[in-house]
Symmetry: none
Subunit: 210 residues, 4 copies
């Protein structure tokens, strides 16, 4: 999470004042607030420090820069996504798509996600951080959805190269929703969700029959 992963116990040394754990929370909260008010490009490290009641140096001691800080601040929001059992694969997918769309509508997410991805195209460690903290963690939703559907008999059990298919489905779902919400900038409403889910399920069904 920080430059050195755990707030306490870094570098093996014993002495020294330990890092404030409260500061971490205050900083991340302040970062999200600043994203909401100012957006990515007008967010400044100094402003975040001020909001968090913390010195600028404290920020830089823990995060290498704005990119890393924002990734950490936003990542936790993605962990709130859930996949409640709604009885059918279609309902499960619709549920998670709606949740995901709602998350992308939140101003802090909307302004930050594309920005850090843009930065990550020229910053390999940042890309890795995004993958670890955001992308890979959410694949659990696809995994859970597939396993539940298999348990229900909606999908055949463990097809070959399930991982590859999971990844494909993840890219399709996440990509389509992000593109609809942020690029096309049109609402992810019930109608769209239904049509998208139908398209996806149709594709999955066709694949199962092959």
């Amino acid at each position: 999470m920080c430059i050195s992963s755990s707030p306490s116990r870094r570098r093996g040394g014993t002495g020294g004042r330990p890092r404030s754990a409260e500061a971490d929370a205050a900083i991340l909260t302040a970062t999200r607030a600043a994203l909401v008010e100012l957006g990515w490009s007008k967010l400044t490290m100094g402003d975040v420090a001020g909001r968090a009641g913390v010195a600028k140096t404290t920020l830089y001691r823990r995060w290498a820069g704005k990119n890393e800080l924002v990734v950490d601040a936003v990542a936790v929001l993605f962990d709130e996504l859930e996949l409640p059992d709604r009885g059918s694969l279609m309902a499960d997918i619709e549920g998670v798509v709606v949740q995901f769309a709602a998350l992308l509508e939140r101003p802090e997410t909307k302004t930050a996600l594309m920005a850090v991805i843009a930065e990550s195209t020229r910053d390999e460690p940042l890309r890795e951080r995004i993958r670890t903290l955001i992308v890979e963690r959410q694949k659990r939703l696809v995994l859970a959805g597939r396993e539940r559907a298999q348990a229900r008999g909606e999908l055949p059990a463990s097809p070959a190269s399930a991982t590859g298919t999971d990844d494909l489905i993840f890219d399709v779902i996440a990509g389509a929703v992000v593109h609809r919400a942020l690029v096309s900038a049109e609402p992810v409403d019930a109608d769209w969700v239904q049509r998208f889910t139908a398209l996806l399920l149709g594709g999955l069904g066709a694949a199962a029959r092959t």
Copy 2:
């Protein structure tokens, strides 16, 4: 393209030195070169002016800022996408997906596209500019593909709400490819393209049967 759409002859005035048409091209070329070398976040107006052999004033007289300039510089690259007739809907889709992925691999596109989209979440005019110059223009590819497939009899003729479906397909294709290439950061290789196209076509076929 510029603040006042046509490079020369704006504001109806008669006298005065006309704007250099060469400068426009030089600036956009310089912008793309700077994107390649520096990426979005390190590209500066001063640097672009220097590369183009132009004063900073000249840039600001024609573009409102970095965002608008980069959108214009990158938009033209998307117009190079084509949909050659490869004999079947599947081959057509695979062809355009491969082209699109190749475009997203180019460093100037990769770094700029996500960045301007991120900016556009807080800048309505910029969003409109992106839609007009980039997004909407490429929907022609979906339209052409659908019409060609209908002509071939691969798809039923003009289903209800064809526009909505076109938009959905556009979001799915563009979104999935972008997500695969930039977010998941994994290669859009022949295998992935084939699996993705199969999924999409399966969905379209299932929809057609309904």
Copy 3:
């Protein structure tokens, strides 16, 4: 005075906005005001810029740093020293010593002079600047005093190595007054001035008799 000596016409170029001449004056005045209020060590470039109604970059475009700026700001004060004809060498010396002591009592001078001299011990260009702008310029006072005394017949005409003697006398007068005022930190009152002048004149007279 500035990084490039004359405000206009630097680097041979013709184009570009010329440097503001008013800014120079405002900055030097602001520097003196800041010295009075804050003293040398608490004077900051940002504060001076603020007082002068000027951007920090404008300061740095013209002066390399605090040292150079303060030397320039203070140098002009030393040029106010005069040597009015008071009728005798003794009276002339007493007059200039009193003036010099008064100058050293001014808060801007007091706090700045020793500081820049201290810095100059590790900064050859700065030392040269101090010599050129402050030290050497004031030797005119010694020169004028000697010539006037010679005209009066108080001193023998053009003794050998007059320059060396002038320098010695300059070091003795300036050094003694500075030491009394700033190091011993005791008042340069009429009594002290009289005793010091008597000592100096005695020495000069003894030398003349040799």
Copy 4:
């Protein structure tokens, strides 16, 4: 010397770990070394602490700040000045002037002395510290010189207001040498010393005849 004069036994308390006496010496030595390498303005408390193998806290527990620390570190060097009996007043003066000039040539003295004096113009306790530890202590040299000259019969016995004259002579000698060495930045060589001493003795002789 320290905040509480003696390294050990402060505040009357009985218990507790006593302060390390070695640390004091190490810190002052480190301070002088840092002055030599870095000069006054680039010397930092952290750096001194590092050189001395001591925590920054330890420095601040003993000295109020950089100024006080440097005064203490440098003061001891001035105590090395001596006035060996060289047989005549002129030789005695020349001897002490040469010694003093040599001291001012040492890099730690050169950079520190003017700096702390500059600071002292805005810091009364610091000025007092300098007077006590450096200035007043060296007046012993003038006193000794005068008494020895009187014993030799070179000067009349105890003239009225001897103290005032001692102070005057101290300011003249110290001031002239400092000015020559640090402001004029020219060498205090044998020739200059001889001419300066002659001037001073001439003045003293003239005063004696009055």
